[in-house]
């Protein structure tokens, strides 16, 4: 998000799901779309099969979408900037770039041209293992497409250099003028139902709702007058920084609403120690999650089926969530709990229903100003929607890049912080399964989904399995620098030799005991996709 905010002026998906249909070429990278965003995955398959759209998959794993792809490039995890710069190199060298667009809508082109000049196909092949003729084919396919869209997900961003990866992607789209029209753009697929909404609402340490910076006096004044208190100008801490600060004794209390860091966060044993030092850990959730089990106070809340409100999907579409059921007696909606707590704490909050809260959101969030519950009755609206007669914005950057000029930012390939060595010869990468979701708090309580995917399976290449003498279904201990876990094995050529892959839904096989907490300096995202490990038979 930080990457795109820097280069384009808005961190969200530039285009809409439906307008992917207009794309002649779809470059999909770091997104196992058919498993993590299945309905978009189906759309991609359909376009490839029945409408002649070309798909380029760039992924260390042989994901299912590869079977629909015209081209599959297989870099090692963590090598994204190398091949992205390589594509830019070829596109410039072969004059496939969009000069009028660059002249009119961008700045900084020369710096990137200079930077990528050393990323020759040969150089990129040496780093990533992608054969140079494949890279050239991919560059020509993307570079000569009428409409080309890039889709990416955590495979790009969850690295200590993730922000640079995003900038490299943005460079590519700017280079070819693939912005501001249907079937194009830079499209980060958001992983969770309302992650876009949580960001929009200012649940980030540096911005108020609507991405209005806490450091800007004018904006702080605005919120101070709306909320009737004085506000801190000091940027806050991110998730991983919070647990570090807790470990150091600087943070004394953490209040968690509807998350389960004890499964999803990196370096879990460190996190557990950090939480143990807290004077107060409050967890508000629908189940006694792994995080709730270590809390001082647990507050029972309601699920999305039991309350009204709005979610925002990956394409910035604000949609109404409606109450279908009464929740368990004794549980309360999160908003009711917060109102009660805040009022007891001394800052009164009185709202009769979620719509009243939404009306306040509209007042302080310019992108939401034109959205009302009444309008949402006839379908979702994509922000920005500045006034009540505005239809919403399916395609960002139309006619003009939000930032004014799209900014080319030169970025360099730097090897990931953890590279395999003699003691830890494998790269462990992590991700999701089709049948489960995130911490598994919900899906692991669904009989069918557990039946379909009952337990953790670590994927390992057949040649590595043979070397280690491991059989299909056998158990291994995956040992990293920060911890280890035991899991069954699945032998598959989905992963290349030297790489193992595990899914993080399983509290009993906690992959995140191993993952590292090295942060991207800008986005503060951690490198969940590359950890060095060894595999022991057990």
């Amino acid at each position: 998000m930080v990457g795109l905010a820097t280069t384009l002026g808005s961190g969200a998906m530039t285009n809409s799901i439906a307008d992917l249909k207009e794309a002649d070429v779809l470059l999909v990278t770091g997104s196992n779309t058919t498993e993590t965003h299945p309905v978009i995955g189906m759309l991609l398959r359909n376009r490839a099969r029945f409408n002649g759209s070309k798909i380029i998959v760039v992924d260390p794993r042989k994901i299912d979408l590869v079977e629909e792809a015209n081209l599959w490039l297989q870099p090692k995890p963590g090598d994204d900037i190398a091949w992205l710069n390589g594509l830019a190199h070829i596109i410039i060298k072969e004059n496939l770039y969009n000069k009028p667009f660059i002249d009119q809508h961008t700045e900084g082109f020369e710096a990137v041209k200079e930077k990528v000049s050393r990323y020759t196909p040969e150089f990129v092949e040496k780093i990533t293992g992608i054969p140079k003729d494949q890279l050239i084919r991919a560059a020509r396919m993307y570079g000569s497409a009428k409409n080309a869209a890039i889709l990416y997900c955590m495979g790009i961003t969850q690295h200590s250099k993730g922000t640079d990866g995003v900038k490299a992607i943005s460079n590519l789209a700017l280079l070819c003028g693939q912005l501001g029209k249907p079937g194009s753009g830079v499209n980060p697929l958001r992983g969770q139902n309302n992650v876009q909404g949580a960001c929009d609402m200012g649940c980030l340490p540096t911005v108020y709702p609507g991405y209005q910076g806490v450091g800007l006096k004018e904006l702080r004044d605005k919120f101070e007058s709306h909320w009737g208190v004085s506000l801190s100008e000091k940027p806050g801490l991110t998730v991983v920084e919070m647990s570090q600060a807790a470990y150091e004794g600087k943070i004394k209390a953490i209040y968690i609403m509807g998350e389960n860091p004890m499964v999803t966060d990196p370096d879990l044993s460190h996190l557990k120690k950090a939480y143990a030092k807290l004077e107060l850990l409050v967890v508000q959730d629908i189940f006694l999650t792994e995080s709730a089990q270590v809390a001082h106070v647990v507050l029972p809340s309601l699920s999305f089926l039991e309350k009204d409100g709005a979610f925002v999907n990956t394409e910035r579409r604000v949609q109404r969530v409606r109450k279908a059921l009464n929740g368990p007696e004794g549980a309360k909606a999160d908003w009711e709990i917060i109102c009660d707590l805040s009022s007891r704490f001394g800052y009164s909050m009185n709202y009769g229903n979620p719509e009243e809260i939404f009306e306040e959101i509209r007042k302080v969030t310019p992108q939401y100003a034109g959205i009302t519950y009444a309008r949402l009755e006839s379908g979702g609206i994509q922000w920005p929607c500045p006034d009540a007669s505005h239809p919403g914005t399916p395609v960002l950057h139309k006619g003009r890049i939000v930032r004014g000029k799209g900014l080319f930012v030169p970025v360099d390939y730097i090897p990931p912080p953890e590279v395999p060595d003699r003691d830890y010869p494998f790269i462990l990468s992590t991700g999701r399964d089709y049948y489960h979701y995130h911490a598994g708090s919900m899906t692991r309580k669904v009989r069918l989904l557990n039946e379909m995917c009952p337990e953790s399976l670590v994927e390992i290449n057949p040649s590595d399995a043979e070397k280690l003498g491991i059989n299909e279904g056998g158990r291994v201990r995956v040992v990293g620098r920060r911890g280890d876990f035991v899991s069954k094995v699945k032998i598959t050529d989905k992963v290349s030799s030297g790489v193992v892959f595990a899914k993080f839904h399983f509290a009993e096989a906690p992959v995140n005991l191993l993952t590292n907490t090295v942060l991207d300096p800008e986005s503060k995202i951690t490198d969940l996709k590359v950890s060095a490990v060894r595999i022991e038979k057990c």
């Binding site: 709005a310 368990p328 004794g330 919900m442």
Partner: protein, 345 residues
């Protein structure tokens, strides 16, 4: 181009089927094998219409509309033909509507009723086909009820792209079979496509007829696609999830989690009361006690260590309204910007 349907002059653009023109003009033509998002096959023949100048009726779903066509969609002759079509479906389709999950929202049942068929003229004792397991435990397969419209097969191929299903055998023995069960992803698109009760959901033990069920239109709570779905509720129990063509970005499509992943909501493990840790163990507490505890403790910590010693984690799982209030609480009430959520995880 201009054409006439049921005596009405209609203007339309080129390149559409007779069915599309009719639908655009609010005229209903019955159909069983066709769905808007599938390539039309014209196999069920329920959508037959008469076109002036043509000797035989044509199927509206896959016949191109042409300039000057004069079309009748509901003549006595056409109604007779459709009755015959329905009679042929009833040769094998058991009349077990009272025990069928689909009763009340079955296209075949509705057409049989609409066309006034009193009796299945040619019904043979249905071959007691062996119950065949399907490609997913989420769905029950009742081969006897299948009318071979192939909507399930085509949906799996054209929408989902998995090609799990195909027709096997020929003639009277023709049946749908999961020929590539290993490719099934249990998305249930075949179930949603089935116009009769040949495929039924095998998840909820509680059932409800359509008129007993409350259908609430909402958004899926899993990934970021934001599929629109309908929560089907009987009493206060979720019994299934449905959706329909034209609804939301997903346009009637769902995945396994969206369609079948709702069971957690009825789970006996749901939290029902606040808990407070006492001597190392969590014990039940009243809301008043828990809220007093939290607010007092937060105030103490704030007074002793300053607002920046407190942090909040919001959630990508709760609503915008709740996230807004939460960050407002952390910023305005506590007085710190230590607010984040798991966007990066």
């Amino acid at each position: 181009m201009r054409m006439t349907i049921n005596g009405r002059a209609i203007e339309t653009e080129e390149g559409v089927t007779i069915l599309q023109v009719a639908q655009q003009n609010g005229l209903r033509i019955p159909m069983l094998c066709h769905m808007e998002s599938l390539i039309p096959t014209g196999s069920c023949r329920m959508c037959v219409v008469e076109v002036q100048g043509l000797e035989n009726p044509v199927t509206a779903c896959n016949t191109q509309a042409l300039d000057g066509m004069v079309i009748e969609t509901d003549t006595p002759k056409i109604r007779e033909l459709r009755k015959e079509v329905l009679q042929f479906f009833l040769v094998k389709h058991p009349l077990d509507c009272p025990v069928c999950d689909k009763g009340g929202e079955c296209d075949l049942q509705d057409y049989v009723y609409e066309y006034g068929i009193q009796k299945a003229e040619y019904q043979v004792e249905a071959l007691a086909k062996e119950y065949k397991t399907y490609s997913t435990p989420a769905i029950k397969y009742h081969p006897n009820r299948c009318i071979l419209c192939s909507r399930c097969i085509r949906t799996c191929r054209e929408i989902v792209g998995r090609e799990v299903l195909d027709l096997k055998e020929t003639g009277f023995d023709t049946r749908v079979e999961a020929v590539r069960p290993e490719r099934c992803i249990s998305c249930g698109e075949c179930l949603a496509a089935c116009p009769v009760g040949a495929l039924t959901e095998n998840i909820s033990s509680i059932k409800g007829r359509v008129w007993q069920t409350k259908r609430v239109s909402t958004v899926c709570g899993y990934c970021g696609v934001g599929c629109n779905l309908e929560a089907n509720v009987v009493g206060n129990r979720m019994i299934k999830v449905t959706t329909k063509e034209g609804l939301g970005t997903n346009n009637g499509v769902l995945c396994v989690k969206g369609r079948f992943g709702y069971e957690f909501v009825n789970s006996p493990e749901r939290l029902r009361t606040p808990l407070i840790r006492d001597n190392g163990k969590l014990r039940e507490a009243s809301w008043d006690e828990a809220m007093t505890y939290v607010s007092t403790k937060l105030r103490e910590i704030k007074e002793k260590n300053g607002p920046d010693s407190i942090a909040g984690l919001a959630s990508a799982r709760v609503t915008c309204e709740e996230n807004y209030l939460f960050q407002k609480f952390i910023r305005a009430a506590i007085g710190t910007n230590n607010i984040d959520h798991c966007a990066r995880l």
